[in-house]
Every structure is written in C-alpha cells, then in structure tokens.
C-alpha cells in the first residue's frame, strides 16, 4: 500500500476515535517526546550534589525545586522519563506478544493444550505479583531496568492471555473460521488473517493495560528501593523523597511533581483504554442520543418516552 494512503487511513482512523482516546494519545505523545529529548534539555546534572542540607522550594533557578542534597527535581524528571516510558512500552510489547501467543494457542488448540496453558496463566495471575517481584529482584545482584522489564513481562501476560483466549475460543467455531478451513486455509493463516485481525481492539486494550501495569509496578518497586538507585526514573525520585522525609519536612515539590507525572502518564493510558472500550462496545458509549430525546439521564425501567410533534418541551 502506498505510504500516503496508509497515512491517510491512519489519520482517518484517529479522527474516528472517541475524544477520551484522543486526549489520552496526546498526553502519551507528550511523554514520549520528553523521553526522547528530556536528557538533552535537562538544565542540570540530575546527580549534582550541593552541600545544602534542606530541600529547596521551587524558584527561578530550580523551577520544580531541589532535593535535600540540592539535586534539581526538574532535571531528574526530564532524565527519568526515558527509562520509565521505555520500561513501560517494552514490557507492554513483550507481555502482549506473550499473551497473544498463549491466548490464541490455548483458544485455538483447545483440549489439553488449553487446559494446561489456562492453568499456567491462572496460577501466575492469582499469585501476588508485587511480593514475587520483590523476592525475585531482591536476589538479582544488579537490579536494573532490564531485569525489571524481564520479570515484569514474565509476570504480566496472563491477564491479556485470558481475555484473548476467551475471544479466540468464541471465534474459533464461528462459521467464517470453519469456512476458511473448508476453503483449505492452513491453521497459521487462519490465526493470522482470520482470527487476529478481529481481535485488534482487544490486543490494543491489553497492550495499554499492560503498559500501565508495568509503569505503576516499576515505579512502586523503585519506590521501595528494589531498583538500580544509580539511574533515574520517577520511582527513584520518589524513593529519595521518602528516604529524605520529604513529607515530614513539608517539601511537597519533591514528591508531588514526580507523583503527578506518573499519575498523568497513567491517566493518559486509562483514557486510551476508555476510548478503546467505547469503540468496541457501543453500549458503553455516553448516551448522546439521550440529549436528542431531551433528557440527560435515563433508567432502564422508565416507560418509552412519548414525544409528539411540538411537545419536545413537555419533557
């Protein structure tokens, strides 16, 4: 397909997305941009130390204030965006790929393969992830982003796999899949060309959800110190804030700005998923139709409205 028409289709697809998804994508893009150029525009060295003993409030020189040792919070955040975002996206990609493979395999193959794969993913699902991560990462000698991403991916796929399996299972015996087999298509082609394209929405939602999980979990891990403290990410900043008793000292800028950044990043992902949900399930769409009928809210037990010509105001 020519690149331009692909681009136009992409643009048209974006245009059709619900507003929530558009806002979410815009915020996420901003974070990705910062992840790319952040280290280049950081005004200070994030590791810079001064001999000051108290955190400094935001001022003209340090827009977001400084830590107890004089580190510039803004610079720490600009530098720390990249690892946070990359970790989220990479984990999301790997875990989603795993969940697609396991989910479609279990759903399409059925039988014992399904039993075993489902059992396996459900067991991982019910085990409390964070303590397990802490234990595993606690043993690793050089805890860093790579190790965190690997372990997060290894533990983060079952939810998506479950959803995709259920969908595959319901589609596997749909007539169009049987018909493709009837025509003589091979299983791999059926999976790739008949089943998966019908699950794009689900896979996208699963990806976004996994990225959110990865970011929140990695930040939480860093916050409790299970990370490489020699690099920067939002969790590390918060770890130092907690260690430096930022709350007790009233140094709100130390934890509020990085915390808000995480919240904003998470929010963008939640918004994207809201949008994807609405797209795939029209029932969830906010009832714009109701405004047309002249009501804001509606309960299922209400009788059918009667609106005769010229009576619109009567409601």
């Amino acid at each position: 397909m020519p690149a331009r028409s692909a681009l136009r289709r992409f643009a048209a697809g974006f245009g059709r997305l619900p507003l929530k998804a558009k806002i979410g994508i815009a915020i996420l893009s901003l974070f990705i941009l910062v992840a790319i150029i952040g280290p280049a525009i950081a005004p200070y060295d994030p590791f810079a130390n001064t001999t000051q003993a108290t955190p400094g409030a935001p001022n003209g020189q340090h827009l977001l204030g400084t830590s107890a040792t004089g580190g510039d919070i803004l610079s720490q955040m600009l530098v720390g965006t990249r690892p946070t975002v990359i970790l989220g996206l990479v984990t999301g990609l790997v875990a989603t790929a795993l969940s697609v493979v396991v989910g479609t395999a279990a759903g399409y193959l059925g039988g014992y393969a399904d039993e075993i794969l489902s059992l396996f993913s459900n067991v991982i699902l019910v085990l409390p992830a964070l303590p397990l991560l802490v234990v595993i990462l606690g043993y690793l000698p050089h805890t860093g982003e790579v190790a965190t991403a690997i372990v997060l991916s290894a533990l983060g796929w079952p939810w998506g796999a479950r959803v995709i399996r259920a969908q595959t299972l319901s589609m596997r015996n749909r007539d169009f899949v049987l018909a493709a087999r009837e025509v003589g298509e091979r299983p791999l082609r059926i999976i790739l060309f008949e089943l998966l394209p019908n699950q794009i929405g689900l896979i996208a939602a699963s990806f976004v959800g996994t990225v959110l999980y990865a970011i929140l979990t990695s930040v939480a891990l860093a916050f409790i110190g299970v990370t490489n403290l020699n690099s920067w990410n939002y969790g590390v900043i918060l770890y130092w804030a907690q260690n430096g008793s930022a709350v007790e000292l009233g140094a709100w800028w130390w934890y509020v700005f990085p915390g808000l950044a995480v919240a904003l990043l998470g929010m963008s992902l939640v918004l994207i998923n809201f949008g994807l949900d609405e797209l795939s399930n029209p029932r969830l769409r906010s009832s714009r139709v109701m405004n047309r009928i002249g009501r804001r809210s509606w309960r299922p037990a209400d009788p059918t409205p009667v609106i005769r010509e010229g009576m619109e105001a009567a409601l």
Binding site: A179, V183, G184, E185, I293, W298, P303, T304, V306, R308
Partner: protein, 654 residues
C-alpha cells in the same frame, strides 16, 4: 371470564385499541421511523396475528404499545387505549397508555397486558428458581397470602403441562420447550385480559411448537383473553389466528379475517409472502418468493413502500395514501392498503419473479440418476459428554448416497444428528465408525493428508450468512483465497476474471457493485450468495448445504433454494440439503431422508415420502409442520395441556 362468542365481533368494543401509532428510533444518523401510523384492535377471546419479515416493525409496535421500548425508541404519535373490565370503573373512557405514568403502567403491566417473549431469547432470570419468577409476578399484583400464591404457582405450572416439582428448577435445567411453557404460565399468572405473544415458538422444533400452540389455544378458549400473536411465519398464523395483520416497512398493508388470507390475500405483499412457503400438499409448483429488499426506514417513504418490489407496481403507487380499506370483491372485513389490485387478480405479464425460471423438477422424482460421487456407509459419531462422561451417540449408523445432479434432503429436528452428518461428510469431525467413500474409494476427510484433496470435490455452504463471512475481508478477498487455494492445483490464472465469473454464477450482478463490498454492506441473501460462490470456487462435485436458508427472511429463502437448484442442474452437482423444514425439502429435493435420534427412520423419493409417510415419526413431523393448506381443522387435540411426554419431548437444556 366471559366465553368468547363464535362470530367475529367487529362492532364490539376492543379491549386494546391502537390507532395511528408512530414509533421512531432516534440516532445520530437520523430518525428511523419503524412504525408508521398503525391501527390495530384486539378483542377478547380473539387472536390477531401480526405477520411480516424482520425489520417490518411488528415487535416494535407491540412493545411500543405497552411502552416497554427503551430509548432511542420514542413514541411520536397516535394513541393506545386499554378498556379492560377491571379498569373500567376508574377509567370510563379507557386507560390511555401513552399518557400513563410509571406507577400507573406498573398496574397495567402483567395484570392487564402480559407478554410471552420469544423462546430463543433468554427471557428467564438464570439465577432465580422458576417458582420465584412465577411468584414475584403474582405478588406484585395480587394481595394474597404466601400459601395461596404458592398454590397458584403450582396450579399454573400444571396448567401448562409441567410437573410441580419442576418449580424448584433453575431455567438452565429445563429444555427450550419447557422454558417456553413456563413463560406462558408466567404470562397467565394474574389472568391478564391481553396476552402479547412475540414469536413464542420460534426456535422450537415443529412438534413441540405444535403442542405448545395447541395448549395455548385451549387456555385462551378457557380463559378468554385476547391475543396478539407476532410471527414471521404467516403459515403458522393461518392455523391459529382469527384475524391476520400483515406489516411491511412499518405500515399495515393488509388486515383480514384469516379465512380470506387463506384464500390468497389481496395485497401484493401478502400474496408474495403466501407464495414464499413451500407446501406439503398439492402439486409441486415453482414458487416466486419476493425479489428485492425492504426499503430504508429513514426519512419519508412516499406512497406505497412496497412498490419497488411489487409485480403490479405503477406510477400511481407513489401517490397513494397508505390506509387499509375495503377493496372491491374482497371478503367482509378484508382490508388492503393497495387500491389497485383486486382479489385474485393474476400477476401481470412479464412480472419480475425471483430471478430464475422453473428450476425445480416439476412432477415426480424421475430425475435421471447421475453417477454416484459420495457415499457414507454405517456412519457413526460418538461424543464423550454428559454429566459423568458417558458416551453419547449423535449419529448411529447412517447410510447415504449422493449422486450427481440429485438433491438429497436430510430432514430432522435439532439434536437429531443431521448437522453432525454434515460435519462428518465435510471432514470437520472424525468418524467414530463406518466409512466415507468418494468415487467408490474409502477416504477419511478429517485427516490432514486427505483434507485438501477432498475439499476439491466436496464443499459446504453454512447456515448463518452473517457469521460465515469474515467481517474484515471484502467479497473479492473471500473468493480469491478460495480460487487461489484450489486453482493452484488446476493451473488456472486470471483471478480477477474468475472472481467475476463466480459472482455471475450466483447472480450477484453487476459484479463491480459487489466485488469490493464488505459483508456488512450486503443483505443476508447476498451474503449467502457470496458464500455459495466461495464454495463453487473449488469447482466441487458435491455441495453440502446445512440449513442454508433458515436464517434468511422468508421472502428470499426461495431465491437461494432456486439458485442452488439451478447450479445443481448446470454443473450436475450432487447436493445434500440439510433442513428442519420438510416442506422445503419436498419443494426442492429428489430424495428425502428423515432423521430422528441419530438414525434414518425413513427414506424415499420426496413426493412419495411426504404424501405417504410410513414411519410414525415422519407422520408426526408432517402433521406438525404448519401448512397454509391444511389448517388445523382436524382438531384432534386430546386433553390439552398434558402432552409433555410426547415424541417431541426434548432432552434437558444443554
């Protein structure tokens, strides 16, 4: 309760009076006016049958009249007045349903107007016991003691022929027929004066359908309620209704006493519908069906909405006012919306019929038998299922032979094993026993090594045209893949020309219009044609058609059957037609096999088998099938209501 008088009482006050009702669905894309100025009266003890195809507005009308529709549906005009005896004191002019508030409507609902919902739908709450669902309806309307309510529930459930112990069951523990009986018991729980029945037997097997209808009729005679019976199956109405109302595109096109409709109806649409049902009696004639598709209900429809599909259409059709009225030569009480066509007026010369010419072999079944292509001997299929893993035999030793140029129909109810045969013969499932022979050579189509070669000869058409095409691929993609996979072996190129050729074969012309369409842009009939074209891509010798028309509207079923029949003649295809509808089998097949509980109980030339069935099951099946010509005058109904243990009894819900 008054006993209904024998004569149609057009003068008596109706118990429910709908006049000029307008209902619309408001959406972003515009307003769909689903019901347009409909008048309808219900009288005590009478059944009004409301017929029409999907999307004609019949259900919208019924639910809208009791204000059960949810937004975006709104009532935009007309009136609905209820005049039940119980309410006559408080409402001397009748109860204005459209003006009633929430609380008032709650008193009207069930107590006065009850609804029997479609059986295929899950109308029972899956987490409540049957008894609780019966009781809450009773308690909501009657001030009676717990004891009395329970007695009433027991009485009701016995009335519809279910043992009182089953009151403790959950819905999923009952069969489809039983669930429908429970629904009827629920509807009659507080003795309503009007009962709306929305496709109450659709999805049930004919034998069960017959039983339930018979019981319902008996209850109606006993209790004297008025019935609005909604169905797409006009032939069913001819058996049970007192008056038939036919709807098309949201409007009533004909309203007539049932006897008048039985004699043919006046409105061209009614006549088209009547002509869409294959008969069980009389000569096997070419039927017409109705060509074309219903109009878009957005916006105005000037004049008669049917004119685009009408054989009698003329310019004046676009000017008429759609009001049913008496027509010259009609029977008393017979009203038609078409002022131009008189009763019995023959079709004009050169009228558009459903495309193909007479393709069904006219008389007898003396079709010269072509060579034997595919046969099954002692076919068996066991499933390991059931609660304790016991083996269930779906097919217990079936022999069948498919010859070129012949149609064999496999007729049976759901669960008879007929679809399993299709799966075995198409290689989707593995045989437990017996063998499949292609050209006299044994083959196991379910094995990977044989499957592809086998598909070259044996192709399948699926039941649901809405599910059998991938919504993400175009028509061209579907056909090209099939061509590529099979054509590679025969060395044919020119895929584009081949796609055109396939589309022409199934009369999807002009091909440019359909080539690049996505499935959702096509109607059900068009999709089924694409499905057939895809099967033809392999140039097979055998076509397995598993209920190819049961999901389609009645008026287009014949088109598809005729198409398959035409292809059979043109390419000398051997066809296995699997259906629950013995009348369509008679219409279309050379030989009929009747299947029951995994076995063929009777087989023979189509006409001979239908006219002189020998096996009791075949006789029951034929007697239960609704047929416009044989309405239920033969009221052989024994004691109504206690027939659950008949042959039509189903197993427990799956």
């Amino acid at each position: 309760m008054s006993t209904p008088d024998a004569l149609p009482s057009a003068t008596a006050t109706p118990v429910l009076e709908i006049s000029g009702l307008d209902i619309a669905y408001r959406s972003e894309a515009g307003e769909v006016r689903a019901v347009r100025g409909v008048d309808l009266d219900l009288h005590p003890g009478k059944i009004v049958g409301l017929a029409g195809e999907s999307g004609c507005g019949k259900s919208t009308l019924a639910y809208g009249a009791v204000r059960l529709l949810r937004p975006p549906a709104i009532v935009t005009g007309g009136s609905v007045v209820y005049r039940g005896r119980r309410l006559s004191a408080g409402h001397p002019d009748g109860f204005d349903v459209l003006a009633a508030g929430d609380a008032e409507l709650r008193r009207l609902r069930w107590r006065e107007i009850a609804i029997v919902f479609q059986s295929a739908m899950n109308a029972l709450n899956p987490v409540l016991r049957i008894s609780e669902q019966l009781l809450d309806g009773i308690r909501a309307h009657l001030e009676i003691s717990d004891e009395q309510a329970r007695d009433r529930a027991r009485e009701l459930i016995e009335m519809v022929g279910i043992k009182p112990e089953r009151l403790n069951a959950y819905p999923h523990e009952l069969s489809g027929g039983m669930r429908q009986r429970v629904m009827i018991a629920m509807a009659l729980a507080v003795e309503p004066e009007v009962v709306i029945m929305d496709e109450p037997t659709t999805g049930l097997d004919v034998v069960v359908q017959k039983e339930i209808l018979r019981e319902t009729m008996a209850l109606k005679d006993q209790l004297g309620f008025a019935v609005l019976f909604i169905t797409h199956d006009l032939s069913l109405l001819l058996e049970i209704a007192d008056r038939v109302v036919v709807m098309y595109a949201g409007q009533v096109v004909e309203s007539a006493p049932t006897s008048a409709v039985r004699h043919g109806g006046i409105h061209p649409y009614t006549r088209g519908l009547l002509g869409s049902f294959p008969r069980l009696r009389g000569p096997r004639v070419q039927l017409t069906g109705i060509p074309g598709t219903p109009p878009d209900l957005r916006g105005e429809l000037p004049g008669c909405p049917f004119h685009a599909r009408c054989a009698f259409a003329q310019d004046a059709c676009l000017q008429i006012d759609m009001r049913v009225q008496a027509v010259n030569g009609a029977e008393p009480g017979q009203l038609s919306a078409c002022p131009f066509v008189a009763p019995g007026q023959p079709l004009p010369e050169g009228a558009v019929t459903s495309g193909s010419k007479l393709t069904v072999p006219a008389e007898g079944d003396a079709q010269p038998s072509g060579e034997l292509v595919l046969s099954g001997q002692g076919l068996r299929k066991d499933y390991r299922g059931g609660r304790r893993g016991e083996v269930v035999s779906a097919v217990k030793g079936v022999d069948l032979e498919l010859h070129r140029g012949r149609v064999v129909a496999l007729v049976g109810e759901s669960g008879s094993g007929k679809s399993t045969i299709a799966k075995l013969l198409s290689g989707q499932e593995r045989l437990t026993g017996g063998e499949i022979l292609l050209d006299g050579k044994q083959i196991d189509p379910s094995t990977r090594s044989h499957f592809r070669a086998y598909k070259k000869d044996v192709q399948m058409v699926f039941q649901d045209p809405f599910a059998s095409l991938n919504p993400l691929h175009t028509v061209r993609y579907h056909l090209q893949r099939a061509l590529k996979l099979h054509g590679a072996r025969t060395g044919r190129g020119h895929a584009v020309a081949d796609v055109e050729r396939l589309l022409e074969q199934v009369s999807l012309t002009p091909t440019t219009k359909f080539r690049d369409a996505y499935p959702h842009e096509l109607s059900g009939g068009q999709r089924q044609r694409v499905s057939i074209a895809r099967a033809l891509a392999a140039e097979p010798r055998v076509l397995l058609a598993d209920e190819p028309v049961s999901m389609l509207d009645v008026s287009i079923r014949l088109e598809i059957l005729d198409l398959i029949s035409e292809l059979r003649s043109r390419y000398q295809l051997a066809i296995l037609y699997i259906t629950h509808d013995i009348a369509s089998a008679r219409y279309f097949a050379d030989e009929i096999l009747v299947m029951h509980h995994g076995e063929i109980v009777e087989r023979g030339p189509a006409e001979q088998l239908v006219q002189n069935p020998t096996h009791p099951y075949t006789q029951l099946l034929i007697a239960s099938s609704p047929d416009p010509d044989t309405f239920a005058v033969q009221e052989d109904a024994p004691e109504p209501g206690h027939q659950v243990d008949g042959v039509g009894k189903e197993g427990p819900g799956r």
